[in-house]
Symmetry: C2
Subunit: 339 residues, 2 copies
DNA sequence: TACTAATCTGTTATCGATAACAAGACTAAC
DNA sequence: GTTAGTCTTGTTATCGATAACAGATTAGTA
């Protein structure tokens, strides 16, 4: 009489029995331990093959305390930066033999703490938080106290774990490009201020203008969406002395361009527009968008590497590298109209 | 002498001890079992609070055989459909109290089987495969034999688990819109043939033209990328009798529009262009893109619901619903130029 | 030869929870 | 007052692996 083995997945002891060895030996073979005879190893592997055995990661995780899984928190909006960062994390994690557990959240303190909580409870070995924490920072820190954590947005005050792109130089590149073309000054459509990337772009833009001795016009606020860019564009397009606009994301830049076009202002003849990100569609805007490339996919990858360092070598000092962005000049920028 | 309790996360027995009850009682309280005295419950919850206890999901999964995690396989390319589907899955899973484990793959049989394998080994309760399986179907089926699985691309031959959008009517909507404007026929830039969505769009386009008694021109093949749309556009733009183009995705449509614009063909005065998907940027194309809306986020959500039904009620019959797409008319379509 | 060291394999305890069973206290019904 | 039934709690076995220890065999060396 069998013991309801009917449809159960084979366990290690089934393999052991089939190979005529102990479970421990099977474990050793599968973990590539050195001291196993070649013959035994072959017998075990044959049994594994025959039974279609797969090691149960849950059981492994329980006894080793390591799940080889990392958790990722992103915001629940489908924009380019989110998805390409997630993709980068995914790819890098896979290469390193880690699985990825992802959770989305809104911007609220409650949402973020819940998201992090969930992942911790799932037993992840480390965490990547790709969202501005702000007031949630303190509670999140408590929850993640025992777990290596990397944040990709600096607003959290967890700055020692930050991984990002050099926003300052991104903006300086763009601003100087426009000033270099002869524009008197550069207007700015910024991202939502709770994102540290947006905040530091705003900041750097101001400083770049000041440094060049130009007038600093008031900024307009967007929320990363093309709609918000469109609304800003409707305002800027009505102001005749606006000849150059730096938009904090390509997606908003599409909205700005649309609004300007509807108002009859030609790009780049009347107004120059520069975006940031270099999304796939930027080259296919009308006109093709001049922008500052920063690879979110790469940021995701680096976040993973940084995290794995912390996981596998917790004692060491970890410096956070910053990546240099590059300016991609297309057709949306030109010298200002001669007066 | 303590037993290296130094920095260990508290376990259930720690809570039990603190509350002066057995571990089983703690378990019962946390699982909302009915037969626990109010007083006891309060004492347990107080201890949980005090120690900052979180239930270990790994241990639960091991003993219950359920991880409350679902696995998602997507392709490793960052396009709109992938990311919004993933987002939909994410959100729906969270609402249902499930975690999401995501893996990306390439299109190869090996890549796909490995991806699925990984997830199975991670111990997911169910699988969503958002990639065309094709020849991988057989091996994947073997691997997922014991696990509920939903595919969102029909090319797999696992059709009984399919969840999707009615591609036929999407294309008919678009084609008839163009014919209704007076175009003699409609050209088509298709997606990669290994995607069943692309294949059925191609098919439906042909049949729609035949049914209307129109000439069926040869189709051009793209790969979902804006670049491929651009290349197709460079060809179509040189053919003076092309006045209406149905593009199998909005992202490719951006490329087509760019190419046509560069060749001096005005949209929609000279050529009408219709996309499919209604991505966020479609409304901000130049001109705003007429397209057929189909919500990938929604497809993701429905895939989850469908999967959870299978998980929680394996015996029942599960019919796969199909969603009706809607035509969104913007500015990229108009009657053909009068000759 | 004898004694140490290195290889190989097996046994037992353990990770942190839940399932299944058991037992005591109390209530209800005859 | 006994018996059965409900409510509440505890005890033990178990999920599937690995760690730690231990025993047996072989090899190496004084």
């Amino acid at each position: 009489m069998q013991k309801r083995q009917f449809n159960r997945a084979p366990a290690m002891r089934d393999v052991a029995q089939a190979a005529g060895v102990s479970a421990q030996t099977v474990s050793r073979v599968l973990s590539d331990h050195p001291n196993v005879q070649e013959v035994t190893k072959r017998r075990v592997l044959a049994a594994v093959e025959e039974l279609g055995y797969r090691r149960n990661n849950t059981a492994r995780a329980l006894v080793t305390g390591l799940s080889r899984t990392i958790g990722v928190v992103t915001l629940a909006t489908n924009n380019y930066s989110r998805s390409s960062l997630a993709l980068g994390v995914e790819l890098a994690a896979r290469e390193a033999g880690y699985a990825v557990n992802s959770v989305t959240s809104n911007l609220s303190t409650q949402g973020l703490t819940e998201a992090v909580s969930r992942l911790v409870q799932q037993g992840v070995d480390g965490l990547i938080i790709a969202a501005p924490l702000q007031e949630a920072a303190r509670r999140v820190r408590e929850i993640t106290a025992r777990i290596p954590t990397v944040t990709t947005d600096g607003s959290s005050g967890m700055s020692d774990e930050l991984v990002g792109v050099d926003q300052e130089s991104a903006v300086v590149l763009a601003t100087n490009h426009l000033l270099g073309l002869g524009h008197r000054t550069v207007w700015h459509v910024s991202g939502p201020p709770e994102w540290s990337d947006a905040a530091s772009r705003l900041d750097s833009w101001r400083r770049a203008l000041e440094k060049a001795g130009r007038e600093v016009p008031p900024e307009l606020h967007g929320d990363w969406s093309p709609e918000s860019g469109y609304r800003s564009g409707l305002i800027l397009g009505r102001m005749p002395d606006v000849t150059a606009i730096l938009v904090a994301s390509d997606e908003m830049a599409f909205g700005v361009i649309r609004a300007l076009t509807e108002l009859g202002r030609r790009i780049p003849e009347d107004v120059s527009v520069v975006g940031i990100d270099d999304i796939d569609l930027a080259a296919y805007a009308t006109p093709p968008l001049t922008t500052v490339r920063q690879s979110f996919e790469d940021t995701g990858r680096r976040a993973v590497f940084h995290l794995l360092e912390q996981i596998e070598n917790p004692e060491a000092e970890h410096t956070h590298q910053v990546v240099e962005p590059t300016l991609v000049i297309r057709k949306s920028t030109a010298p200002p109209p001669s007066v």
